[in-house]
């Protein structure tokens, strides 16, 4: 189980819940599990989110392995200029 926390505005879509225990060994599996656990988040997760694993931000790496004790934050989609 990985402790997954919601960052930025995502809590507005989880009924205020900020943290979930999710089964998953990769970012993709964690996002899938999170979508199951909180269906209202699913469309946002599908549109694309950023995932911070131990402080490193991933925007497109579903296959990235995640250790069970990693710090995982799901952040809203981010873009630059």
């Amino acid at each position: 189980m990985v402790q997954v926390r919601l960052g930025g505005s995502l809590q507005s879509y989880s009924g205020g819940r900020g943290s979930f225990e999710i089964e998953g060994a990769t970012i993709g599996q964690i996002l899938a599990g999170l979508g199951e656990a909180c269906p209202r988040l699913k469309p946002l997760l599908e549109q694309g989110v950023a995932v911070a694993v131990d402080g490193q931000i991933y925007r497109g790496s579903l296959l990235q392995p995640v250790r069970p004790d990693a710090e995982v934050f799901i952040l809203p989609k981010l873009a630059g200029g």
Binding site: G7, S9, Q56, G60, Q64, P76, L78, A79, G80, G81
Partner: protein, 755 residues
């Protein structure tokens, strides 16, 4: 794959030097070809008809007279772009208005004709029947319950239960942690203020321009100035219903973007015109069109409340951010909210944000989108907190600064970051000790930007003469080709001038994300390094084959393959040039490739210091001195890193002092030109000092961080703090143009006289 961090920073021989850029001669001789510099045989000239109304229903469009005008070869309207409901819907509607014109300047039709004069005439013959609707320009006004509604189908997201009444608030967001009420209770001083910023334009000197050509076989070519030609290709293909493979997009030299060229405006229109006319069409925006119809940034209203103990420890931070992003959802409020308190170690944070639509052009990204405004508000309050408790503003920031291991206000824990180093650099700089004269003031502010990586491809070909052709897929706005050549040369161990980088078109390379998020030197740089290492591996393999020894018995050092040790055999080194010369006869060409998605871009922090003098007679602010200290991780080409620092600071000074979108009561933009929308000129600015801090980014083999965006985050606040210091009046509204400053000073004089 773990990154090879073995290259020690002091082992660099090319990276960190300042060679001339490969595209330099072209650009100083006028030979470089930008968006509008390309022509094609049989080319037509395109022009766009734009709505003069801020908000109007389009009852009908009659283009028959225009179509009948001799020399007119095509007219297009929304009817030429099939409607869709997917993620391209907003860009589709922005490119060509459908049932409503949503802002002054919104495209409603376009023509292609044999000359610019005929095209202009044709526009005047198109009859659009508008039903003018009430409009709304201001962010706060747009949020009122009785405001004119832009989209009947928009219901505020992020509130439960989902509202049933449409609203101009596209989304509400909220996040935080800890207990802000307890934090404020613990504070000795609490300050709460509301700040406002105006919309500003990226102000690139080159207007949007493209040359489109679609044949009767449905194959298309597009030449365009853009920050992302792959994005242009995919978006245009979707809007026009083309296969992606049928559209080849070539990125011209680009005359500035700053985020404003990360989307499409005229490109799909030019393609549609060309398809209809069966001839190439050139479409170039006028400066007025650039202002009226391409991306300004959001205007904002931001309330910030922060508490501090007498010992200088910040106890809580709260913010409410309202950002209008023009006629479509997507203002950068989310990023503004997440970056607002990112510079500080805070236990108690609470942030609420609103993404609001108004009758203005759809905002486009502008350098660290969303962050300069929230930093303006937060850094203003931090400045006042320091004043109230009588603490040096840098010491206060040092005491609360985020560092490695700090849990950021927006969630994740920071890795190695350089905020403290930038603050110390400012504090120890001679500038900080300079005496101030009368009417002069000093301001400090910090800034943060996330930085991004993204999808990237690079191809590196070894030529028979030992030179190297490097194909990169990210348009070069600020000298990135020089940095790419440096990194390739570093890896290959050959002179810088043996590598030549080009920006490849969309058919020559795999997908590349747009040049945004300060990603190029980081991501394309990393791809270049990986491609070079791939080539080195093949060069070593080739040498091994020539020598008849195992591949792993060969190493690459100083531009040559060498036997790994005495056991490998005694062979004289084979240089890159020698292997390249033998390549045709020893197995064929050698090339290195990298296709990947760069992650872990590593945030960049900056601290800015500015001295100003405010003329009490006119309210005019003169910038006397400016210092930027920013973390670059590792500066690949320091001259261009400094250039990014200086350019961002200058844009921020403009935003702080002069630049603003001014709307009339009719909802029309009053200042769509460089005369009335005044960006800083050479005589407005002093030299801009820079300090490059280098705290290596663990996500990059050389430690590189993006630098392009953070530099615009602190200046709004730094200048406002300096003007406030000089005048003794806290300024909370931008721009601090002479009339506004004078008005505030007069008001104070009057109040003092009344006492």
């Amino acid at each position: 794959m773990p990154l090879d961090q073995s290259a020690k920073p002091n082992a660099f021989s090319k990276v960190g030097t300042r060679p001339l850029r490969p595209d330099g001669i072209d650009k100083v001789t006028g030979r470089a070809r930008f968006g509008a510099d390309m022509n094609a045989p049989g080319m037509l000239i395109g022009r766009v008809l734009r709505s003069p109304h801020a908000h109007a229903r389009i009852r009908s469009i009659d283009a028959s007279e225009a179509e009948a005008l001799p020399g007119v070869k095509a007219v297009v309207t929304a009817a030429d772009f099939p409607d869709r409901q997917d993620e391209f819907r907003d860009v589709l509607v922005n490119v060509m208005a459908r049932d409503k014109a949503l802002y002054d300047g919104h495209a409603v039709a376009a023509v292609a004709a044999t000359s610019a004069g005929i095209a202009r005439k044709a526009l005047s013959l198109i009859k659009v029947d508008y039903e003018v609707l009430p409009h709304v320009i201001d962010v706060e006004a747009a949020m009122l319950p009785d405001a004119p509604i832009l989209h009947d189908t928009m219901f505020t997201k992020g509130v439960e239960p989902t509202p049933t009444k449409p609203s101009n608030v596209a989304a509400r967001l909220e996040f935080g942690r800890g207990d802000v009420a307890a934090g404020f209770a613990e504070a000795d001083v609490v300050i709460e203020k509301t700040f406002r910023t105006e919309a500003t334009h990226q102000g690139y000197i080159e207007p949007h321009a493209c040359l489109a050509s679609v044949g009767s076989d449905g194959q298309g070519e597009l030449w365009v100035c853009t920050q992302g030609h792959f994005m242009v290709r995919d978006t245009c293909a979707a809007l026009l219903g083309m296969d992606i493979s049928k559209l080849r997009v070539t990125a011209s030299e680009i005359g500035g973007g700053f985020g404003g060229k990360t989307t499409v405006f005229i490109e799909p229109v030019a393609l549609a015109l060309s398809r209809k006319a069966g001839r190439p069409v050139k479409l170039v925006m006028s400066r007025g069109e650039v202002f009226r119809a391409s991306g300004p940034t959001a205007s904002t209203s931001i309330r910030v409340k922060m508490g501090i103990r007498k010992d200088g420890r910040i106890t809580a931070g709260e913010a409410e951010l309202k950002y209008q992003g023009g006629a479509f959802p997507g203002s950068p409020v989310e990023m503004g909210a997440m970056s607002a308190f990112a510079c500080y170690e805070l236990e108690n944070v609470h942030v609420v944000g609103y993404d609001v639509v108004t009758n203005r052009p759809k905002q486009a990204a502008y350098r660290a989108p969303g962050a300069p405004m929230s930093a303006f508000a937060v850094e203003g309050v931090v400045n006042d907190l320091a004043e109230r408790i009588g603490m040096d503003p840098i010491d206060l920031r040092l005491k609360n600064a985020a560092k490695e291991g700090t849990r950021s206000a927006y969630g994740p824990t920071f890795g190695p970051i350089g905020l403290i180093e930038t603050l110390k650099a400012v504090k120890s700089h001679p500038h900080y000790k300079k005496k101030l004269g009368p009417n002069q003031g000093r301001g400090v502010a910090c800034g943060f930007w996330f930085n991004f990586g993204g999808q990237t491809c690079v191809s590196l070909n070894i030529n028979i003469d030992g030179t190297v052709a490097l194909a990169v897929g990210t348009p070069d706005i600020g000298g990135s080709r020089a940095s790419m050549c440096l990194m390739a040369a570093e890896e290959l161990g050959i002179p810088y001038d043996r590598v030549r980088a080009i920006i490849a078109d969309t058919s020559s390379l795999g997908f590349n994300d747009v040049t945004d998020g300060s990603r190029v030197t980081f991501a394309s740089g990393m791809a270049t390094i990986k491609a070079a290492r791939d080539a080195v591996q093949k060069l070593c393999a080739r040498a091994a084959a020539i020598w008849g020894i195992p591949e792993d018995a060969v190493v690459w050092e100083e531009g040559a393959a060498r036997p790994a040790g005495p056991n490998a055999g005694a062979f004289p080194p084979l240089t890159l040039r020698e292997i390249a010369a033998m390549a045709p006869k020893t197995g064929g060409p050698i090339a290195g490739h990298c296709e990947f998605n760069a992650e872990n871009a590593g945030p960049s922090f900056a601290s800015h210091l500015v001295d100003v003098e405010v003329d009490p007679e006119t309210g005019r602010t003169t910038v006397l001195r400016y210092l930027v200290a920013q973390d670059a991780g590792k500066a690949v080409h320091p001259a261009y890193v400094e250039g990014q620092f200086q350019g961002g600071a200058a844009q921020g000074v403009g935003w702080a002092l002069n630049e603003e979108y001014i709307y009339g009561a009719d909802g029309r933009l009053q200042n769509p030109g460089f005369l009335d929308y005044r960006i800083p000129v050479a005589s407005d600015l002093p030299m801009i000092d820079t300090v490059i801090v280098e705290v290596p980014n663990p996500g990059h083999p050389y430690g590189v961080r993006g630098v392009g965006e953070t530099s615009i985050v602190p200046p709004l606040a730094a200048v406002a703090n300096a003007v406030s210091h000089a005048t003794g009046i806290r300024f909370t509204e931008l721009p601090m143009s002479p009339p506004r400053v004078l008005h505030a000073m007069d008001a104070r004089r009057m109040a003092q006289a009344a006492e």
